[in-house]
Amino acid sequence: MEQYSSKVMEHFAHPHNVGEIPDADGVGTVGNPVCGDVMRLYIKVDKEVITDAKFKTFGCGAAIATSSMVTDLVKGKTVGEALKISNAAVAEALGGLPKVKMHCSVLAEEALKSALDDYYKKKGVPSPVKIPESSGHEHEME
Protein backbone atom coordinates (compact mmCIF):
# COMPACT_ATOMS: atom_id res chain seq x y z
CA MET A 1 0.00 0.00 0.00
CA GLU A 2 1.07 3.59 -0.58
CA GLN A 3 2.09 5.46 2.55
CA TYR A 4 -0.10 8.12 4.14
CA SER A 5 0.87 11.78 3.75
CA SER A 6 2.16 13.61 6.83
CA LYS A 7 -1.07 15.64 6.90
CA VAL A 8 -3.14 12.44 7.06
CA MET A 9 -0.97 11.09 9.88
CA GLU A 10 -1.27 14.40 11.74
CA HIS A 11 -5.09 14.33 11.55
CA PHE A 12 -5.17 10.63 12.42
CA ALA A 13 -2.89 10.97 15.46
CA HIS A 14 -4.57 14.15 16.70
CA PRO A 15 -8.03 14.27 15.14
CA HIS A 16 -10.00 17.52 15.44
CA ASN A 17 -13.66 17.69 16.49
CA VAL A 18 -14.07 14.18 17.93
CA GLY A 19 -17.26 13.75 19.90
CA GLU A 20 -21.02 14.21 19.87
CA ILE A 21 -23.28 17.26 19.79
CA PRO A 22 -26.22 16.24 22.00
CA ASP A 23 -28.55 18.93 20.59
CA ALA A 24 -27.26 18.73 17.02
CA ASP A 25 -29.34 20.28 14.23
CA GLY A 26 -28.26 17.55 11.83
CA VAL A 27 -26.79 14.06 12.24
CA GLY A 28 -25.69 11.69 9.49
CA THR A 29 -24.36 8.13 9.79
CA VAL A 30 -22.92 6.38 6.73
CA GLY A 31 -20.78 3.37 5.91
CA ASN A 32 -20.83 -0.25 6.89
CA PRO A 33 -18.84 -2.01 9.62
CA VAL A 34 -18.39 -4.97 7.25
CA CYS A 35 -16.34 -2.77 4.93
CA GLY A 36 -14.40 -1.44 7.88
CA ASP A 37 -15.70 2.11 8.20
CA VAL A 38 -18.69 3.90 9.72
CA MET A 39 -18.84 7.69 10.09
CA ARG A 40 -21.28 9.72 12.16
CA LEU A 41 -21.24 13.47 11.67
CA TYR A 42 -23.01 16.05 13.84
CA ILE A 43 -23.62 19.70 12.86
CA LYS A 44 -24.89 22.69 14.80
CA VAL A 45 -26.43 25.42 12.62
CA ASP A 46 -27.24 29.01 13.49
CA LYS A 47 -28.89 31.24 10.86
CA GLU A 48 -27.76 28.95 8.01
CA VAL A 49 -24.15 28.99 9.28
CA ILE A 50 -22.52 25.81 10.61
CA THR A 51 -21.21 26.91 14.00
CA ASP A 52 -19.97 23.50 15.16
CA ALA A 53 -19.26 20.05 13.73
CA LYS A 54 -18.20 16.87 15.48
CA PHE A 55 -17.71 13.28 14.46
CA LYS A 56 -17.39 9.70 15.61
CA THR A 57 -15.76 7.22 13.28
CA PHE A 58 -15.02 3.50 13.27
CA GLY A 59 -12.39 3.01 10.63
CA CYS A 60 -8.85 3.03 9.38
CA GLY A 61 -6.33 5.87 9.51
CA ALA A 62 -7.75 7.51 6.38
CA ALA A 63 -11.34 7.28 7.65
CA ILE A 64 -10.41 9.09 10.87
CA ALA A 65 -8.31 11.70 9.05
CA THR A 66 -11.03 12.49 6.47
CA SER A 67 -13.61 12.79 9.28
CA SER A 68 -11.34 15.24 11.07
CA MET A 69 -10.74 17.23 7.89
CA VAL A 70 -14.36 17.42 6.73
CA THR A 71 -15.49 18.70 10.14
CA ASP A 72 -12.73 21.34 9.98
CA LEU A 73 -13.79 22.37 6.48
CA VAL A 74 -17.50 22.88 7.23
CA LYS A 75 -17.13 25.01 10.33
CA GLY A 76 -18.06 28.63 9.62
CA LYS A 77 -19.53 27.77 6.21
CA THR A 78 -23.19 28.25 5.29
CA VAL A 79 -25.15 25.07 4.67
CA GLY A 80 -25.24 26.03 0.99
CA GLU A 81 -21.47 26.25 0.87
CA ALA A 82 -21.08 22.99 2.82
CA LEU A 83 -23.21 21.19 0.25
CA LYS A 84 -20.56 21.92 -2.36
CA ILE A 85 -17.69 20.27 -0.45
CA SER A 86 -16.58 17.29 -2.51
CA ASN A 87 -14.60 14.19 -1.59
CA ALA A 88 -11.78 15.46 -3.80
CA ALA A 89 -11.60 18.65 -1.74
CA VAL A 90 -11.31 16.63 1.46
CA ALA A 91 -8.58 14.41 0.00
CA GLU A 92 -6.73 17.41 -1.40
CA ALA A 93 -6.81 19.23 1.94
CA LEU A 94 -5.11 16.16 3.43
CA GLY A 95 -2.32 16.25 0.87
CA GLY A 96 -3.83 13.35 -1.06
CA LEU A 97 -4.83 9.81 -0.09
CA PRO A 98 -3.53 6.41 -1.24
CA LYS A 99 -5.64 5.15 -4.16
CA VAL A 100 -7.16 2.30 -2.15
CA LYS A 101 -8.23 4.81 0.51
CA MET A 102 -10.08 7.29 -1.72
CA HIS A 103 -13.36 5.66 -0.67
CA CYS A 104 -12.79 7.15 2.81
CA SER A 105 -13.04 10.66 1.36
CA VAL A 106 -16.23 9.62 -0.47
CA LEU A 107 -17.59 8.44 2.84
CA ALA A 108 -16.72 11.80 4.47
CA GLU A 109 -18.63 13.66 1.74
CA GLU A 110 -21.59 11.33 2.18
CA ALA A 111 -21.58 11.73 5.96
CA LEU A 112 -21.71 15.50 5.52
CA LYS A 113 -24.51 15.28 2.93
CA SER A 114 -26.43 12.94 5.20
CA ALA A 115 -26.11 15.37 8.15
CA LEU A 116 -27.22 18.29 5.94
CA ASP A 117 -30.18 16.26 4.68
CA ASP A 118 -31.15 15.57 8.30
CA TYR A 119 -30.86 19.30 9.05
CA TYR A 120 -33.30 20.22 6.27
CA LYS A 121 -35.72 17.49 7.30
CA LYS A 122 -35.66 18.59 10.95
CA LYS A 123 -36.33 22.13 9.80
CA GLY A 124 -39.25 20.92 7.75
CA VAL A 125 -38.06 22.29 4.44
CA PRO A 126 -37.50 20.31 1.22
CA SER A 127 -33.97 18.96 1.22
CA PRO A 128 -31.82 19.93 -1.75
CA VAL A 129 -29.37 17.16 -0.84
CA LYS A 130 -28.93 14.37 -3.33
CA ILE A 131 -27.90 11.24 -1.44
CA PRO A 132 -26.34 8.70 -3.79
CA GLU A 133 -28.46 5.56 -4.15
CA SER A 134 -25.78 3.16 -2.98
CA SER A 135 -23.97 4.74 -0.12
CA GLY A 136 -20.47 3.50 0.49
CA HIS A 137 -18.10 1.98 -1.98
CA GLU A 138 -17.95 -0.86 -4.42
CA HIS A 139 -15.76 -3.79 -3.49
CA GLU A 140 -12.82 -4.34 -5.75
CA MET A 141 -12.14 -7.84 -6.86
CA GLU A 142 -9.35 -9.73 -5.15
Binding site: V18, E20, T29, V34, G36, M39, T57, F58, G61, H139
Partner: protein
Protein backbone atom coordinates in the same frame (compact mmCIF):
# COMPACT_ATOMS: atom_id res chain seq x y z
CA UNK B 1 11.42 4.43 22.73
CA UNK B 2 11.25 0.66 23.00
CA UNK B 3 10.96 -1.29 19.73
CA UNK B 4 8.87 -4.42 19.96
CA UNK B 5 8.58 -6.54 16.82
CA UNK B 6 5.54 -8.82 17.03
CA UNK B 7 5.22 -9.65 13.34
CA UNK B 8 7.36 -12.79 13.02
CA UNK B 9 4.71 -14.45 10.85
CA UNK B 10 5.47 -11.77 8.25
CA UNK B 11 9.20 -12.37 8.43
CA UNK B 12 12.04 -12.94 10.88
CA UNK B 13 15.48 -11.32 10.95
CA UNK B 14 18.27 -13.55 9.66
CA UNK B 15 20.26 -15.13 12.52
CA UNK B 16 23.77 -13.59 12.77
CA UNK B 17 25.31 -17.05 12.18
CA UNK B 18 23.16 -17.39 9.06
CA UNK B 19 24.48 -14.11 7.68
CA UNK B 20 28.04 -15.12 8.57
CA UNK B 21 27.64 -18.42 6.71
CA UNK B 22 26.20 -16.69 3.64
CA UNK B 23 28.71 -13.86 3.16
CA UNK B 24 31.62 -15.78 1.51
CA UNK B 25 29.23 -17.04 -1.17
CA UNK B 26 28.63 -13.53 -2.53
CA UNK B 27 32.32 -12.84 -3.15
CA UNK B 28 35.14 -15.39 -2.69
CA UNK B 29 32.99 -18.46 -3.25
CA UNK B 30 30.83 -16.99 -6.02
CA UNK B 31 30.80 -20.02 -8.29
CA UNK B 32 27.95 -21.51 -10.31
CA UNK B 33 27.14 -24.97 -8.93
CA UNK B 34 26.57 -26.31 -12.48
CA UNK B 35 30.24 -25.80 -13.41
CA UNK B 36 32.77 -28.60 -13.12
CA UNK B 37 35.78 -26.49 -12.14
CA UNK B 38 36.85 -26.06 -8.54
CA UNK B 39 35.05 -22.72 -8.07
CA UNK B 40 31.82 -24.29 -9.31
CA UNK B 41 32.32 -27.43 -7.24
CA UNK B 42 32.79 -25.34 -4.11
CA UNK B 43 29.34 -23.82 -4.66
CA UNK B 44 27.87 -27.24 -5.49
CA UNK B 45 29.25 -28.65 -2.24
CA UNK B 46 27.75 -25.70 -0.36
CA UNK B 47 24.25 -26.30 -1.67
CA UNK B 48 24.60 -30.07 -1.15
CA UNK B 49 25.43 -29.30 2.47
CA UNK B 50 22.47 -26.90 2.73
CA UNK B 51 20.20 -29.57 1.23
CA UNK B 52 21.36 -32.15 3.78
CA UNK B 53 20.73 -29.73 6.67
CA UNK B 54 17.30 -28.72 5.38
CA UNK B 55 16.41 -32.39 4.90
CA UNK B 56 17.60 -33.24 8.43
CA UNK B 57 15.33 -30.56 9.93
CA UNK B 58 12.23 -32.29 8.54
CA UNK B 59 13.40 -35.93 8.60
CA UNK B 60 13.72 -36.18 4.81
CA UNK B 61 16.43 -37.51 2.49
CA UNK B 62 18.58 -34.84 0.81
CA UNK B 63 17.44 -35.98 -2.65
CA UNK B 64 13.83 -35.28 -1.60
CA UNK B 65 14.49 -31.54 -1.10
CA UNK B 66 13.95 -29.17 -4.04
CA UNK B 67 15.01 -25.60 -3.46
CA UNK B 68 12.75 -22.75 -4.57
CA UNK B 69 12.64 -18.98 -4.03
CA UNK B 70 9.67 -18.70 -1.66
CA UNK B 71 6.90 -20.48 0.17
CA UNK B 72 4.52 -19.24 -2.51
CA UNK B 73 6.67 -20.84 -5.23
CA UNK B 74 6.86 -24.12 -3.29
CA UNK B 75 3.06 -24.16 -2.95
CA UNK B 76 2.56 -23.38 -6.63
CA UNK B 77 5.04 -26.09 -7.65
CA UNK B 78 3.35 -28.60 -5.34
CA UNK B 79 -0.22 -27.92 -6.46
CA UNK B 80 0.38 -27.52 -10.19
CA UNK B 81 3.34 -29.90 -10.44
CA UNK B 82 1.73 -32.79 -8.58
CA UNK B 83 -1.69 -32.34 -10.23
CA UNK B 84 -0.30 -32.09 -13.75
CA UNK B 85 2.19 -34.97 -13.41
CA UNK B 86 -0.46 -37.31 -12.02
CA UNK B 87 -3.40 -36.20 -14.14
CA UNK B 88 -3.94 -39.71 -15.54
CA UNK B 89 -4.94 -40.81 -12.02
CA UNK B 90 -7.66 -38.21 -11.67
CA UNK B 91 -8.55 -34.54 -11.90
CA UNK B 92 -10.04 -33.69 -8.50
CA UNK B 93 -8.09 -31.74 -5.87
CA UNK B 94 -9.12 -31.17 -2.25
CA UNK B 95 -7.97 -28.11 -0.28
CA UNK B 96 -9.22 -26.35 2.83
CA UNK B 97 -10.91 -22.96 2.57
CA UNK B 98 -8.30 -21.38 4.87
CA UNK B 99 -5.21 -22.23 2.80
CA UNK B 100 -2.75 -19.48 1.93
CA UNK B 101 -3.61 -17.67 -1.32
CA UNK B 102 -0.60 -19.31 -3.01
CA UNK B 103 -2.44 -22.64 -2.64
CA UNK B 104 -5.95 -21.29 -3.30
CA UNK B 105 -4.94 -19.33 -6.39
CA UNK B 106 -2.90 -22.23 -7.78
CA UNK B 107 -6.00 -24.40 -7.30
CA UNK B 108 -8.11 -21.79 -9.14
CA UNK B 109 -5.65 -21.90 -12.04
CA UNK B 110 -5.92 -25.69 -12.17
CA UNK B 111 -9.73 -25.35 -12.27
CA UNK B 112 -9.32 -23.37 -15.49
CA UNK B 113 -7.39 -26.26 -17.05
CA UNK B 114 -10.02 -28.90 -16.35
CA UNK B 115 -9.41 -29.91 -12.73
CA UNK B 116 -12.21 -29.75 -10.16
CA UNK B 117 -11.43 -28.44 -6.69
CA UNK B 118 -13.24 -29.32 -3.47
CA UNK B 119 -12.93 -26.63 -0.80
CA UNK B 120 -13.32 -28.05 2.71
CA UNK B 121 -14.75 -25.89 5.50
CA UNK B 122 -13.19 -25.60 8.96
CA UNK B 123 -14.80 -25.36 12.39
CA UNK B 124 -14.91 -22.22 14.57
CA UNK B 125 -11.40 -22.93 15.82
CA UNK B 126 -10.05 -23.40 12.32
CA UNK B 127 -9.75 -27.19 12.32
CA UNK B 128 -10.32 -29.36 9.27
CA UNK B 129 -12.31 -32.50 10.14
CA UNK B 130 -10.44 -35.58 8.81
CA UNK B 131 -13.85 -37.23 8.29
CA UNK B 132 -14.66 -34.43 5.82
CA UNK B 133 -11.50 -35.30 3.89
CA UNK B 134 -12.48 -38.99 3.82
CA UNK B 135 -15.97 -38.11 2.55
CA UNK B 136 -14.65 -35.68 -0.05
CA UNK B 137 -12.21 -38.13 -1.67
CA UNK B 138 -13.66 -39.68 -4.81
CA UNK B 139 -12.18 -42.08 -7.38
CA UNK B 140 -11.20 -38.99 -9.33
CA UNK B 141 -9.23 -37.35 -6.48
CA UNK B 142 -5.52 -37.07 -7.17
CA UNK B 143 -4.27 -34.60 -4.53
CA UNK B 144 -5.17 -33.26 -1.09
CA UNK B 145 -3.48 -30.09 0.21
CA UNK B 146 -4.10 -29.04 3.82
CA UNK B 147 -1.78 -26.64 5.63
CA UNK B 148 0.17 -27.82 8.68
CA UNK B 149 -0.79 -24.69 10.61
CA UNK B 150 -2.71 -21.63 9.54
CA UNK B 151 -0.54 -18.55 9.18
CA UNK B 152 -3.17 -16.16 10.57
CA UNK B 153 -4.88 -17.93 13.46
CA UNK B 154 -2.11 -20.46 14.17
CA UNK B 155 -4.40 -23.50 14.35
CA UNK B 156 -2.44 -26.74 13.84
CA UNK B 157 -4.31 -29.15 11.58
CA UNK B 158 -4.59 -32.92 12.23
CA UNK B 159 -2.11 -33.79 9.46
CA UNK B 160 -1.30 -37.32 10.73
CA UNK B 161 -4.98 -38.28 10.78
CA UNK B 162 -5.53 -36.88 7.30
CA UNK B 163 -2.45 -38.62 5.88
CA UNK B 164 -3.69 -41.95 7.25
CA UNK B 165 -6.78 -41.44 5.09
CA UNK B 166 -4.95 -40.28 1.94
CA UNK B 167 -2.50 -43.20 2.23
CA UNK B 168 -5.32 -45.69 2.51
CA UNK B 169 -7.11 -44.18 -0.49
CA UNK B 170 -3.91 -43.84 -2.54
CA UNK B 171 -4.18 -40.08 -2.93
CA UNK B 172 -1.20 -37.68 -2.83
CA UNK B 173 -1.03 -35.35 0.19
CA UNK B 174 0.78 -32.00 0.28
CA UNK B 175 1.02 -29.78 3.34
CA UNK B 176 2.02 -26.12 3.48
CA UNK B 177 4.34 -26.10 6.51
CA UNK B 178 5.63 -22.56 5.97
CA UNK B 179 4.15 -21.39 9.29
CA UNK B 180 5.37 -24.37 11.33
CA UNK B 181 8.84 -25.30 10.07
CA UNK B 182 11.48 -24.11 12.52
CA UNK B 183 8.92 -23.43 15.27
CA UNK B 184 7.43 -26.81 16.10
CA UNK B 185 8.71 -30.31 15.22
CA UNK B 186 8.08 -31.08 11.55
CA UNK B 187 8.86 -34.63 10.45
CA UNK B 188 7.70 -35.76 7.04
CA UNK B 189 7.58 -39.42 8.10
CA UNK B 190 5.57 -38.75 11.26
CA UNK B 191 3.25 -36.43 9.33
CA UNK B 192 2.97 -39.01 6.56
CA UNK B 193 2.91 -36.46 3.75
CA UNK B 194 4.08 -36.82 0.14
CA UNK B 195 5.05 -33.18 -0.27
CA UNK B 196 5.72 -30.28 2.11
CA UNK B 197 6.49 -26.57 1.62
CA UNK B 198 8.83 -24.59 3.89
CA UNK B 199 10.38 -21.13 3.77
CA UNK B 200 13.67 -19.93 5.27
CA UNK B 201 12.81 -16.34 6.23
CA UNK B 202 10.02 -17.66 8.48
CA UNK B 203 12.62 -19.13 10.85
CA UNK B 204 15.67 -16.84 10.88
CA UNK B 205 16.93 -17.71 7.42
CA UNK B 206 17.19 -15.25 4.54
CA UNK B 207 14.38 -14.21 2.19
CA UNK B 208 14.47 -15.84 -1.23
CA UNK B 209 15.31 -19.34 0.00
CA UNK B 210 12.62 -21.98 0.41
CA UNK B 211 12.08 -25.64 -0.37
CA UNK B 212 9.57 -28.22 -1.44
CA UNK B 213 9.96 -31.74 -0.06
CA UNK B 214 8.73 -34.36 -2.53
CA UNK B 215 8.75 -37.97 -1.34
CA UNK B 216 11.05 -40.18 -3.40
CA UNK B 217 9.15 -41.83 -6.24
CA UNK B 218 6.41 -39.17 -6.45
CA UNK B 219 6.16 -37.57 -9.89
CA UNK B 220 6.06 -33.80 -10.20
CA UNK B 221 6.00 -31.57 -13.29
CA UNK B 222 8.49 -28.68 -13.26
CA UNK B 223 6.95 -25.21 -13.45
CA UNK B 224 10.20 -23.47 -14.45
CA UNK B 225 11.86 -25.28 -17.34
CA UNK B 226 15.13 -25.06 -19.18
CA UNK B 227 17.84 -26.22 -16.83
CA UNK B 228 19.28 -29.21 -15.04
CA UNK B 229 19.19 -27.59 -11.59
CA UNK B 230 17.29 -29.26 -8.76
CA UNK B 231 17.37 -32.55 -10.68
CA UNK B 232 15.55 -30.87 -13.56
CA UNK B 233 12.55 -29.95 -11.43
CA UNK B 234 13.35 -26.26 -11.10
CA UNK B 235 15.51 -24.54 -13.70
CA UNK B 236 17.61 -21.47 -12.93
CA UNK B 237 21.02 -20.80 -11.41
CA UNK B 238 20.75 -21.46 -7.69
CA UNK B 239 20.70 -18.57 -5.21
CA UNK B 240 23.75 -20.07 -3.49
CA UNK B 241 24.20 -17.58 -0.61
CA UNK B 242 20.50 -17.72 0.29
CA UNK B 243 20.44 -21.52 0.16
CA UNK B 244 23.53 -21.69 2.38
CA UNK B 245 21.61 -19.41 4.75
CA UNK B 246 18.55 -21.69 4.64
CA UNK B 247 20.80 -24.65 5.48
CA UNK B 248 22.33 -22.82 8.43
CA UNK B 249 18.91 -21.67 9.69
CA UNK B 250 17.70 -25.29 9.47
CA UNK B 251 20.71 -26.53 11.43
CA UNK B 252 20.14 -23.90 14.16
CA UNK B 253 16.38 -24.60 14.30
CA UNK B 254 16.87 -28.36 14.62
CA UNK B 255 18.82 -27.80 17.84
CA UNK B 256 16.72 -24.89 19.10
CA UNK B 257 13.08 -25.98 18.62
CA UNK B 258 12.49 -27.23 22.20
CA UNK B 259 13.61 -23.84 23.54
CA UNK B 260 11.54 -21.96 20.95
CA UNK B 261 8.48 -23.94 21.92
CA UNK B 262 8.69 -23.29 25.65
CA UNK B 263 10.10 -19.76 25.94
CA UNK B 264 8.01 -18.21 23.16
CA UNK B 265 4.82 -19.94 24.30
CA UNK B 266 5.30 -18.63 27.85
CA UNK B 267 5.59 -15.06 26.56
CA UNK B 268 2.61 -15.51 24.25
CA UNK B 269 0.51 -16.77 27.17
CA UNK B 270 1.64 -13.78 29.25
CA UNK B 271 0.55 -11.43 26.46
CA UNK B 272 -2.79 -13.17 26.02
CA UNK B 273 -3.54 -13.14 29.75
CA UNK B 274 -2.52 -9.49 30.10
CA UNK B 275 -4.74 -8.34 27.24
CA UNK B 276 -7.74 -10.46 28.24
CA UNK B 277 -7.55 -9.01 31.77
CA UNK B 278 -7.38 -5.41 30.58
CA UNK B 279 -9.62 -5.24 27.51
CA UNK B 280 -13.31 -6.17 27.38
CA UNK B 281 -15.11 -7.33 24.23
CA UNK B 282 -11.99 -9.19 23.09
CA UNK B 283 -12.06 -12.54 21.26
CA UNK B 284 -9.09 -14.90 20.88
CA UNK B 285 -9.12 -16.49 17.43
CA UNK B 286 -7.85 -19.97 16.65
CA UNK B 287 -7.66 -23.17 18.67
CA UNK B 288 -6.99 -22.78 22.43
CA UNK B 289 -4.37 -25.57 22.55
CA UNK B 290 -3.67 -26.79 18.99
CA UNK B 291 -2.04 -23.48 18.15
CA UNK B 292 1.41 -22.28 17.09
CA UNK B 293 3.40 -21.35 20.23
CA UNK B 294 4.17 -17.82 19.06
CA UNK B 295 0.75 -16.80 17.66
CA UNK B 296 -1.85 -14.52 19.19
CA UNK B 297 -4.74 -13.42 17.00
CA UNK B 298 -7.34 -11.22 18.70
CA UNK B 299 -10.48 -9.47 17.49
CA UNK B 300 -11.46 -6.35 19.38
CA UNK B 301 -15.05 -5.27 19.03
CA UNK B 302 -15.94 -1.71 17.92
CA UNK B 303 -12.44 -0.78 16.76
CA UNK B 304 -10.78 -1.12 13.40
CA UNK B 305 -7.50 -2.98 12.98
CA UNK B 306 -5.50 -0.57 10.86
CA UNK B 307 -6.04 2.35 13.23
CA UNK B 308 -4.84 0.17 16.14
CA UNK B 309 -1.84 -0.93 14.07
CA UNK B 310 -0.89 2.69 13.28
CA UNK B 311 -1.16 3.82 16.92
CA UNK B 312 0.89 0.81 18.06
CA UNK B 313 3.48 1.68 15.42
CA UNK B 314 3.76 5.18 16.94
CA UNK B 315 4.69 3.43 20.21
CA UNK B 316 7.36 1.33 18.47
CA UNK B 317 5.24 -1.84 18.36
CA UNK B 318 4.96 -3.74 15.04
CA UNK B 319 1.95 -6.02 14.49
CA UNK B 320 -0.28 -7.11 11.58
CA UNK B 321 -3.97 -6.45 11.14
CA UNK B 322 -6.64 -8.62 9.58
CA UNK B 323 -8.75 -5.66 8.63
CA UNK B 324 -10.42 -5.11 5.29
CA UNK B 325 -9.00 -1.64 5.08
CA UNK B 326 -5.40 -2.82 4.80
CA UNK B 327 -6.20 -5.22 1.98
CA UNK B 328 -6.66 -4.16 -1.60
CA UNK B 329 -9.91 -6.08 -1.85
CA UNK B 330 -11.44 -4.20 1.12
CA UNK B 331 -12.53 -7.58 2.42
CA UNK B 332 -11.72 -8.96 5.84
CA UNK B 333 -9.39 -11.96 6.04
CA UNK B 334 -10.83 -15.07 4.36
CA UNK B 335 -9.57 -17.15 7.30
CA UNK B 336 -11.59 -15.15 9.86
CA UNK B 337 -14.63 -15.30 7.59
CA UNK B 338 -14.28 -19.10 7.35
CA UNK B 339 -14.14 -19.58 11.15
CA UNK B 340 -17.39 -17.63 11.37
CA UNK B 341 -16.07 -14.34 12.74
CA UNK B 342 -18.62 -11.57 12.22
CA UNK B 343 -17.34 -9.43 9.33
CA UNK B 344 -17.52 -6.22 11.37
CA UNK B 345 -15.60 -7.78 14.27
CA UNK B 346 -13.03 -9.29 11.89
CA UNK B 347 -12.09 -5.74 10.90
CA UNK B 348 -10.87 -5.17 14.45
CA UNK B 349 -8.32 -7.97 14.34
CA UNK B 350 -4.66 -7.86 15.32
CA UNK B 351 -2.17 -10.63 14.65
CA UNK B 352 0.76 -10.63 17.05
CA UNK B 353 3.49 -13.19 16.39
CA UNK B 354 6.39 -13.47 18.81
CA UNK B 355 9.99 -14.42 18.19
CA UNK B 356 13.18 -15.33 19.96
CA UNK B 357 14.20 -11.70 20.41
CA UNK B 358 11.14 -10.74 22.48
CA UNK B 359 11.49 -10.36 26.25
CA UNK B 360 9.04 -10.26 29.16
CA UNK B 361 9.65 -6.49 29.30
CA UNK B 362 8.56 -6.22 25.64
CA UNK B 363 5.36 -8.10 26.39
CA UNK B 364 4.59 -5.99 29.45
CA UNK B 365 5.15 -2.87 27.36
CA UNK B 366 2.54 -4.06 24.81
CA UNK B 367 0.14 -4.96 27.63
CA UNK B 368 0.58 -1.39 28.93
CA UNK B 369 0.26 0.37 25.55
CA UNK B 370 -2.57 -1.43 23.76
CA UNK B 371 -5.50 -0.97 26.20
CA UNK B 372 -5.45 2.88 26.16
CA UNK B 373 -5.25 2.81 22.34
CA UNK B 374 -8.31 0.56 22.20
CA UNK B 375 -10.12 2.77 24.71
CA UNK B 376 -9.30 5.93 22.76
CA UNK B 377 -10.52 4.42 19.48
CA UNK B 378 -13.66 3.07 21.12
CA UNK B 379 -14.48 6.52 22.46
CA UNK B 380 -14.20 7.69 18.86
CA UNK B 381 -16.33 4.81 17.52
CA UNK B 382 -20.05 5.26 16.69
CA UNK B 383 -20.48 1.48 17.06
CA UNK B 384 -19.22 1.63 20.65
CA UNK B 385 -21.52 4.60 21.35
CA UNK B 386 -24.50 2.63 20.04
CA UNK B 387 -23.56 -0.40 22.15
CA UNK B 388 -23.28 1.70 25.33
CA UNK B 389 -26.65 3.37 24.65
CA UNK B 390 -28.25 -0.03 24.06
CA UNK B 391 -26.78 -1.37 27.30
CA UNK B 392 -28.12 1.64 29.21
CA UNK B 393 -31.55 1.17 27.68
CA UNK B 394 -31.38 -2.37 29.07
Amino acid sequence: MRNVYLDHAATTPAHPKVVEAMLPYFTDKFGNPSNLHDIGREAKNAIDDARAKTAALIGAKPEEIFFTSSGAESNNLALKGLAQANRQKGTNIIVSQIEHFSVLHAAKTLEKSGFTVTYLPVDKQGLVDPADVARAITRDTVLVSIMHANNEIGTIEPIEEISAITREKGVLFHTDAVATTGWIPVDVKALGVDALSLSGHQFYGPKGAAALFVRKGVRIKPQIEGGIQEDGRRAGTENVPALVGLGKASEIAAADIPRRLSSVAALRDRLQKGLVERIDHLVINGHPSRRLPNHLNVSLWYVEGESMLLFLNMEGISVSSGSACTSRSLKASHVLTCIGTDAAVANGTLLMTLGMGNTAEDIDYVIEKLPPIVQRLREMSPLYEDMIKKEKAG
